[in-house]
Symmetry: C2
Subunit: 172 residues, 2 copies
DNA sequence: TAAACCTGTAACTATAATTGTTACAGGAGG
DNA sequence: CCTCCTGTAACAATTATAGTTACAGGTTTA
């Protein structure tokens, strides 16, 4: 693992929620299961006809991680208004329509609350050397602009796009 | 420290080399020293009038790291044609004019040779779930586009710009 | 209201990536 | 030939990230 698998995991969660919405009670795992003629092993497949309730455990199995990791992510997503959930009651749902949630929203929701730049500076430069003293400040603007450019691109993709893309690939 | 302090460190090295070029034998540390009326403690100040020879040890002191780290970075930079250096002979110099070296060149020279994307995917998604099976592929394009956008922005800045920026801040 | 199940969160552990360090072979130059 | 430097391998330390355990409290159902 490298940096920030939180971001793709969060998108994964939201995609599951989005596809559950589109498909009613069934998150899509059931169809898959019927087509392949066997039980999946990811556990996000429910055992009856009641469909996917999207508990943290089921989501975790689909993602391949721990339920607590999922809850932590959902906690961040909730804070950003991207999901609805309540203590004690199973499942989560999208906070607004999938077409109104961009990848940038997700990125910002789950990145570390501090700076959260993809490009980092080094912090131990010699404070008495003309270069060491000023290099950090000199890199500030380029790095901020690069960050902006990346974020603007993320803004161009919505959760609908991702869900659609998953559907397309699934059909193949 | 977070991810990739190699990149800012590499820029730091190149900035030192660039400013050494502009100032002849003296990398600029001497002026700083005279102005402040005392010896700096970063060691990139030479002790006589012979100026900065930009050995890995001096560069390391300015950056605040180990000489071996500097040599490793220089090794990558050399491979990319951004610096010249020879075994056994002290110092390094720019491989081409500072105006012809972009931050993207530096970024590419020092990032891990593998994928090297700033946005990462999670790899343990359930292979039997329709979402888990396709989410990675669905994220590929958005993440690649975001990467491109960031890289294009880095391409807009040259080492000259950075050196100029450092000079400006230094005068204040 | 008791039982079962879920969320939310803290605290801790494990793991993996990055950085730092030691050591040494070999080139360059006085 | 002595000193200093680069280049690199091998290893240690550090740090960030993810995973885990544990538990308090909410909700639903019977």
């Amino acid at each position: 693992m490298k940096i920030n698998t939180k971001f793709p995991m969060a998108v994964h969660i939201l995609a599951l929620l989005a596809m559950k919405d589109e498909m009613g009670e069934d998150c899509g795992c059931m169809q898959e299961e019927e087509r392949e003629g066997g039980r999946g092993d990811c556990g996000c497949h429910s055992s009856g006809n009641e469909g996917c309730s999207c508990t943290s455990e089921m989501l975790a199995k689909s993602i391949g991680t721990n339920p607590v990791v999922v809850r932590r992510l959902i906690s961040s997503l909730k804070e950003a208004g991207l999901v609805n959930c309540r203590p004690g009651v199973a499942g989560a749902s999208l906070g607004r329509d999938a077409s109104q949630i961009t990848l940038l929203d997700v990125y910002r929701a789950v990145r570390g609350q501090e700076d959260g730049m993809v490009l980092d500076v080094h912090t131990k430069a010699c404070p008495r050397c003309p270069v060491g003293k000023n290099i950090t400040a000199a890199l500030e603007e380029p790095f901020a602009r690069a960050q902006e450019a990346m974020e603007e691109k993320l803004r161009e993709y919505t959760l609908s796009d991702i869900a659609f893309s998953i559907e397309e690939k699934r059909k193949k």
